[in-house]
């Protein structure tokens, strides 16, 4: 386990680590152990099936290579180096940071290190260095996968100077990303404690993922695609868009535009990451100490009441079992952080997406045009929430608790599934949809109300279709969370296409006189039939 290529490269810098007072051989052993564990990170389910060979993370890098290819066109289309590279760095920052947040917060926030390793004679400095090296190894791999090919393209077409500048600025970008992520956690650790803290970190993770998505959109918008060929004009708020710090030296040194603002941006791109990372390194012991809070027990003995969900439970569920599962599901969804981390970002994106497209429409139209158009069909983009939501209903961080289902006298598996699906829709989809519908109502007026009702019914049909496909032979919350990443990308894609089908039928029906009324009725019948056939309660379908 001590023969990883990355470790052998690390050996070359042995003296550097030792200069910082780090016990190099101890650090190497720790990092080697972590890498070995990562290779086995995919949970093996129940049975003693053969361990999957190889590092699952490394295998997933293939996908990042694909994402990286997207950046190549930006290198060639346009006359403004500032904007082109701003986009490339923006994409890189988005991809790397989301990956860091989604996959590596567990590394940054690992408290087991404290218990298991601190008992051995390893000093804190070495422990922290090991943690940092571990994260850096992965970030390097990720970055190479993402930007390796684009960098070679640069070397071949733009020359060695361009290439080197790119690599140097990329290095500073990576420093900034590590420091930014770690410092966010650090501040969180200072302010909160215990369970509340874990919740807060969870929300920050979610917020960051959504924020990065939205920020990315703003980045593209602000450049106004056509405007890529226009000369770059500095505006004061560009100072707050980090990717531009890193693209500024290109405009300055290679583009030959030596305005003060560009120089200031360049300096920011070098100084801020260095300052940030050195602050992080200095504060690291503090960080580690605060990590202790994650282990502390909290005893908040208050019973939580939820009138709204209790009301929904009364309205939506018929049998006692279904009610039990409804309540169980929403309590789990509310608490389980892994679940929230996977689902809430898609809630945010599903919420924002329709408005984003309205915004694009508004760029060459007035509000009045908008109100008269049929762009309200954009609200269908909110359905994106449903496919990922229903998928995640299968998973739980505590999936082993699912022995309960086989021990208890459950009459039908579908009853549980119904309860879980209804709970997820009522708790997560409905609030988002209602808010969207309200805002759309303000934009488009009363005339779209019938359509909004139809769309809601369609959503319920869509949900049951999605769920019955992804939950075949699986009870709610009974699969390990880690599995969710690998399975179902193809399924997800097909389900997404299905949304198009709903839109198409709706548009056609809306062209026919009285079509909306007829369609509403038909949709309602389909809705009833789909629940009846896809999650049947009559037939015996117990899964063990």
């Amino acid at each position: 386990m001590n023969n990883f290529r990355s470790l052998r490269i690390l050996d070359k810098f042995k003296s550097v680590f030792q200069a910082f007072g780090i016990d190099y051989s101890a650090m190497r052993t720790i990092v080697g152990l972590k890498l070995t564990m990562d290779e086995r990170r995919v949970p093996v389910i129940f049975s003693q099936t053969k361990l999957k060979e190889g590092n699952q993370f490394i295998k997933s890098l293939g996908l990042y290579v694909l994402y990286g290819l997207v950046t190549i066109p930006f290198l060639f289309f346009g006359d403004s180096l500032m904007l082109q590279l701003g986009l490339v760095y923006g994409i890189a920052m988005f991809m790397i940071m989301t990956s860091l947040i989604a996959d590596f917060s567990s590394v940054l926030l690992d408290v087991r290190d404290r218990v298991l390793l601190a008992a051995a004679p390893v000093n804190d400095r070495t422990l922290n260095a090991a943690k940092l090296v571990h994260v850096c190894i992965y970030m390097t791999l990720l970055t190479i996968a993402l930007l390796g090919i684009p960098a070679i393209v640069m070397l071949a077409t733009k020359g060695i100077v361009f290439f080197l500048l790119f690599v140097v600025m990329l290095f500073f970008l990576l420093l900034l990303i590590i420091a930014l992520t770690a410092m966010t956690y650090m501040i969180m650790l200072r302010v909160f404690d215990g369970e509340r803290l874990k919740d807060m970190i969870n929300y920050v993770q979610i917020l960051l993922s959504v924020g990065i998505f939205v920020g990315y959109q703003v980045l593209i918008r602000s450049f106004d695609f056509v405007g890529l060929s226009v000369t770059y004009v500095f505006k004061w708020w560009h100072f707050f868009i980090p990717p531009l710090w890193f693209s500024a030296p290109f405009e300055w040194l290679i583009g030959g535009n030596s305005s003060t603002s560009l120089i200031v941006l360049t300096i920011a791109g070098i100084v801020i990451p260095i300052v940030a990372i050195s602050v992080y390194i200095r504060k690291m012991p503090l960080f580690e100490r605060d990590l202790q809070k994650l282990m502390s027990e909290a005893r908040d003995g208050k019973r939580q009441r939820a009138f709204l969900m209790t009301l929904w439970e009364r309205i939506l569920c018929r049998s006692g079992e279904e009610r039990a599962c409804f309540r169980f599901s929403w309590q789990l969804m509310k608490r389980e952080r892994d679940f929230k981390l996977k689902v809430y970002p898609s809630l945010g994106i599903g919420f924002v997406a329709p408005f984003l497209f309205l915004y694009i429409f508004l760029e060459d139209a007035t509000l009045k045009d908008l109100a008269e158009s049929n762009t309200y069909f954009m609200i269908y983009f909110g359905f994106l929430i449903i496919s990922s939501l229903t998928m995640m209903l299968n998973y739980s961080g505590k999936y082993k608790g699912a022995w309960l289902y086989s021990v208890t006298p459950i009459t039908h598996a579908s009853v549980l599934k119904r309860g879980a699906l209804k709970a997820s829709l009522a708790q997560l989809f409905l609030p988002v949809y209602l808010l969207q519908a309200l805002i759309f109502g303000v934009f488009f007026g009363w005339r779209i109300v019938p359509d909004l009702v139809i769309i809601l019914i369609s959503a319920i049909v869509y949900a049951v279709v999605c769920y019955s496909i992804v939950s075949k032979d699986t009870l709610p919350f009974s699969r390990p969370m880690g599995e969710s990443i690998q399975s179902g990308t193809a399924k997800q894609f097909v389900l997404m296409l299905l949304i198009g089908g709903f839109v198409l039928v709706h548009i056609i029906m809306s062209k026919i006189p009285y079509g909306a009324a007829v369609y509403a009725l038909v949709a309602l019948i389909i809705c009833w039939l789909s629940w009846k056939t896809l999650l049947p309660v009559k037939k015996k379908t117990i899964i063990h």
């Binding site: 003693q48 369970e195 027990e297 909290a298 005893r299 908040d300 003995g301 208050k302 019973r303 939580q304 006692g320 079992e321 009610r323 039990a324 599962c325 309540r327 169980f328 309590q331 789990l332 608490r335 389980e336 739980s396 961080g397 505590k398 082993k400 608790g401 022995w403 309960l404 289902y405 086989s406 021990v407 208890t408 006298p409 459950i410 009459t411 919350f477 117990i542 063990h544």
Partner: protein, 264 residues
């Protein structure tokens, strides 16, 4: 005094790829018995429990509970069974109250009834302060108490317990031991597996020893003692499983720890 067996296994065989875990087990269990099911690691104790619970179904042989063949998958049987699994796997983001309510409802109890019963049972076992605290912050013993309550909420006739006392402190162990004895006295059947011989010795009124997939001994503690003429269940266990090298093993271990110094 014994009439119809509550649990009846005939030639129970269970094979995992490359390994025969249970090799023809036949056993009748009667009302009011506390069966201590013991055996070395990997002897098939948990597998037997899982088969009895319907968690594993591709076994050979017949298993009947209340005279019902398990292969018929009669869900009603489950209503009369309680189970405490090994390792305390539980949806621990819930509070004990939420979890117990859910379990109770799956057993078909009214929510208000379960809530009250859970509250009272939690209070009796000293968990009244943490009724609405997430289970994830609990110690192993506290989790174990929650699981024990969850297995008894619906007042089952048979109780399957897999290492029920693990993590409990000395006082709680005494309480649970008494609970089990009283439940058995009231006519319930308890089938439980454990590694802790002292406890098995004290609370079981019948001990079944599993070794290499077969029943190596079956009887009361006194009967087992009569066979082996040895003092404690631990020693009987060692004898029946052909293990008499504990002293040598321990000695060798300590020698290795201390770097080869021989101890006498």
């Amino acid at each position: 005094m014994q009439t119809e067996p509550i649990i009846s296994m005939r030639n129970l065989v269970m094979e995992f790829p490359g390994k025969r875990v249970l090799d023809g087990i036949s056993l009748d269990v009667y009302r009011g018995q506390i069966i201590g099911y013991i055996g070395p690691n990997g002897a098939g104790k948990s597998t037997t429990l899982k088969i009895l619970l319907g968690l594993i179904q591709d076994y050979k042989g017949t298993v009947e509970i209340f005279g019902d063949d398990l292969k018929k998958e009669n869900q009603e049987v489950k209503r009369r069974i309680g189970y405490v699994p090994e390792n305390a796997e539980i949806y621990d983001t819930l509070t004990p109250m939420e979890y117990l309510t859910f379990v109770g409802e799956l057993y078909g109890l009214q929510r208000t009834v379960v809530e009250q019963k859970a509250q009272e049972l939690l209070t009796v076992l000293g968990l009244e302060d943490v009724v609405h605290t997430r289970i994830s912050s609990f110690s192993k013993g506290m989790r174990q108490k929650v699981l024990i309550i969850s297995s008894l909420l619906h007042d089952p006739d048979i109780l399957f317990l897999d290492e029920p006392l693990s993590g409990l402190d000395a006082n709680s162990v005494m309480v649970v031991k008494d609970i089990l004895a009283m439940l058995a006295a009231s006519g319930k059947t308890i089938f439980y597996s454990s590694h802790i011989m002292d406890v098995v010795e004290k609370i079981s009124n019948r001990i079944v020893l599993l070794y290499n997939g077969k029943i190596a001994a079956d009887g009361t503690f006194d009967e087992l003692k009569g066979q082996g003429e040895l003092g404690s269940l631990e020693m009987i266990f060692n004898q029946l499983t052909g293990f008499d090298a504990h002293e040598q093993t321990a000695k060798r271990f300590v020698e290795l720890v201390t770097g080869g110094e021989r101890i006498e």
